[in-house]
C-alpha cells in the first residue's frame, strides 16, 4: 500500500507496473451516503487527467469520479455495478472503480501520499 496516492477530489490510485487501480476514498463514500448506482468507463476509453470518468450516485445526489491520471481504461469493477453498496462497505478495498494504463507516470508526483491526504482531510473539517 506504500505506493497508494490520493487526489484532492478524494480518489485513490494504486499503481502496479504500468497500470493504476482507481477508487474513491472512505471519506468520499461517507460524504456521499448510501451508494445506489455506479457507472464506469468502457475499457479502451482514453482519459486525460481530471476527466470525469465514472459516476457514483447516492440516494441524495449524483457525483462524478475524476481520473487522477491520464491513460487508457483497461478494466472496470463489475462487482460495484452489480452491488453499489460495496462502495460504502469497502471503498478503499475491493470496491475499486476502474484500471488505467498510465500515459505519464510523472503525473503521480502531483498526488498526495496517505499522510498528506489525512492532513488535507483535517483542513476540511
Amino acid at each position: 500500500m506504500a505506493d497508494r496516492k490520493f487526489s484532492k477530489d478524494h480518489e485513490w490510485i494504486e499503481v502496479d507496473g504500468a497500470v493504476g487501480t482507481i477508487g474513491i476514498t472512505d471519506y468520499a463514500q461517507g460524504q456521499l451516503g448510501d451508494v445506489v448506482f455506479v457507472e464506469l468507463p468502457e475499457p479502451g476509453r482514453k482519459l486525460a487527467k481530471g476527466d470525469a470518468a465514472a459516476v457514483v450516485e447516492s440516494v441524495k445526489a449524483a457525483s462524478e469520479v475524476y481520473t487522477p491520471v491520464s491513460g487508457e481504461v483497461t478494466a472496470g469493477n463489475q462487482a460495484i455495478v452489480d452491488d453499489p453498496a460495496k462502495v460504502n462497505a469497502e471503498a478503499e478495498g475491493g470496491a475499486w472503480f476502474f484500471k488505467v494504463k498510465l500515459a505519464d507516470p510523472g503525473e503521480l508526483g502531483g498526488l498526495m501520499d496517505r499522510t498528506a491526504y489525512d492532513a488535507f482531510l483535517k483542513t476540511l473539517a
Partner: protein, 371 residues
C-alpha cells in the same frame, strides 16, 4: 460574515440540540438548520419508516389558526378545496392559488366549529400568512411558539398509544386536541410518507421531552429530511417548489381529486376560470410518475423526450426509491405523452435512457382505515 448577512443566519427548531445529540448531519433547508440524516443513513431510515416507525422534526413548517365560525367559508375564497364539506375534526389537503391558477403553496386544513388549523410549507409561511391575512384579516394567527413532529409508519399508532390513548381511534385525515404524555397537543392522523401516522403540534418548550419519549418507544427511530423526501416521492406526493409552484395549476399537477364537484362548478377561488377551462378541455401538460428502466436515477431537471426523441417535458423530482429498490421520478409531460405505460426517454448526462410513464404512487399508500 454572518452579521453582515443576517438573511444567511439559519433558524433552529426547538429540537436542534437533540438532532445534534443523535449524531445528525445538519444542512440548511428553507432557512433552517435541519437534519438531513442520522448515522443510520437515508436508505435505512427510509426502510425503517416503512417497516416500523420514524420520528421527523417538521417544526420548520408554518402552523396557523384561523378563527371564526365562518373561517372555512372565508378561506375557500383562496383555495379550491371544499372546506365547508368538512365535518368538525376532519382535514383536507388543498392549495393557495393565484389569479393564473398557479399554486402559491400547498397546505393541510383541519376544521373545527369556531376555527381552522392550517399547516403550510416553511419556505412559504410568511408569504402565506400575509396572503391569507389580506383576505381574512385579524382572524389569522401564526402559531409561532409551537413545534411540530411527525410520527410515521405501520408502528406509529402502537408507539403513540401509551402516550395518547385516544389517538388510536382517530380516522386518517382527522385532527383533535388531546394530551400527549401530559402535554397539551394538537394531533392529526396524517403525514407525508404514504404510511399511517400522526403529526403532533405541542408547545416549543415541551417538544424535546416528547420526542425523547417517542424515541424510547419500540420501533421508533429519528428520520431526517433525506428519507422524508424519498418516502414522499415513492408515495407520489408533491414537494412545493419542485413538483408544484406558482407556474403549475392544480389540474396540471394532477390534483383534480382535491377539488370537489361543488367547487369545480361554483369556482370562487383565484384562477377558478382557468381551472374550469382546464377541467373541460384538459390541461396542456400533466404531472405523472416516471419509472426509468435501468438502475440510473434520473433527477430533477432531467429533460424528457418521447420515443421519437421529441421533447415532451422534464423531471421535477427524481432519485432512488429504497422501497422500490430502483430509480423513481415524477415530472410534467405534454398530455399526449401522459398515459400510463407511455415510453419516454430521460436525457441523463447527455444519453437517452429508456423510461415509461408510471402510475402514482410507486409504493401503495397504507393509510389507516377507520373501522
Amino acid at each position: 460574515m454572518a452579521d453582515q448577512h443576517p438573511e444567511l443566519v439559519l433558524q433552529r427548531t426547538p429540537l436542534n440540540a437533540l438532532h445534534r445529540a443523535l449524531g445528525a448531519k445538519m444542512v440548511p433547508f428553507a432557512g433552517y438548520d435541519m437534519p438531513v440524516q442520522y448515522p443510520d443513513g437515508i436508505l435505512r431510515e427510509h426502510l425503517h419508516t416503512r417497516e416500523a416507525a420514524g420520528l421527523f422534526d417538521v417544526s420548520h413548517m408554518g402552523q396557523l389558526r384561523i378563527r371564526g365560525a365562518d373561517a372555512a367559508k372565508r378561506l375557500e375564497a383562496l383555495v379550491p378545496g371544499d372546506l365547508q364539506a368538512l365535518a368538525p375534526g376532519r382535514m383536507r389537503y388543498t392549495m393557495l392559488t393565484n389569479e393564473d391558477a398557479g399554486i402559491l403553496d400547498d397546505l393541510m386544513v383541519t376544521r373545527f366549529d369556531d376555527h381552522l388549523v392550517v399547516v403550510v410549507n416553511a419556505s412559504c409561511k410568511e408569504a402565506d400568512t400575509a396572503h391569507i391575512a389580506k383576505r381574512l384579516g385579524a382572524a389569522v394567527e401564526p402559531l409561532q411558539d409551537r413545534a411540530l413532529i411527525a410520527l410515521q409508519g405501520p408502528k406509529a399508532a402502537a408507539a403513540l398509544a401509551p402516550l395518547a390513548p385516544d389517538a388510536g381511534r382517530m380516522a386518517f385525515m382527522s385532527g383533535a386536541y388531546m394530551r400527549v404524555a401530559g402535554i397539551d397537543a394538537f394531533v392529526t392522523r396524517s403525514g407525508y410518507t404514504g404510511e399511517d401516522g400522526y403529526e403532533v403540534s405541542v408547545p416549543a418548550d415541551a417538544v424535546e421531552a416528547l420526542a425523547r419519549k417517542l424515541l424510547a418507544q419500540p420501533g421508533v427511530k429519528p428520520i431526517g429530511l433525506g428519507a422524508r423526501d424519498s418516502l414522499r416521492l415513492e408515495a407520489g406526493l408533491c414537494l412545493y417548489g419542485h413538483d408544484i409552484d406558482h407556474t403549475t395549476t392544480p389540474i396540471e399537477a394532477n390534483l383534480v381529486w382535491t377539488i370537489s364537484r361543488r367547487r369545480r362548478a361554483e369556482g370562487g377561488f383565484p384562477g377558478a376560470a382557468i381551472v374550469q377551462r382546464q377541467l373541460k378541455d384538459g390541461p396542456a401538460r400533466l404531472r405523472i410518475g416516471i419509472q426509468p428502466e435501468g438502475r440510473a436515477p434520473a433527477r430533477e431537471g432531467t429533460a424528457l423526450a418521447d420515443a421519437g426523441g421529441a421533447p415532451v417535458g422534464r423531471i421535477t423530482s427524481g432519485g432512488f426509491g429504497p422501497s422500490v429498490n430502483g430509480p423513481v421520478a415524477m415530472g410534467y409531460v405534454a398530455r399526449a405523452s401522459a398515459a400510463t405505460g407511455t415510453k419516454l426517454q430521460a436525457m441523463v448526462r447527455g444519453k437517452p435512457l429508456p423510461a415509461r410513464v408510471a402510475a402514482l404512487p410507486f409504493v401503495p399508500h397504507r393509510y389507516h382505515k377507520s373501522t
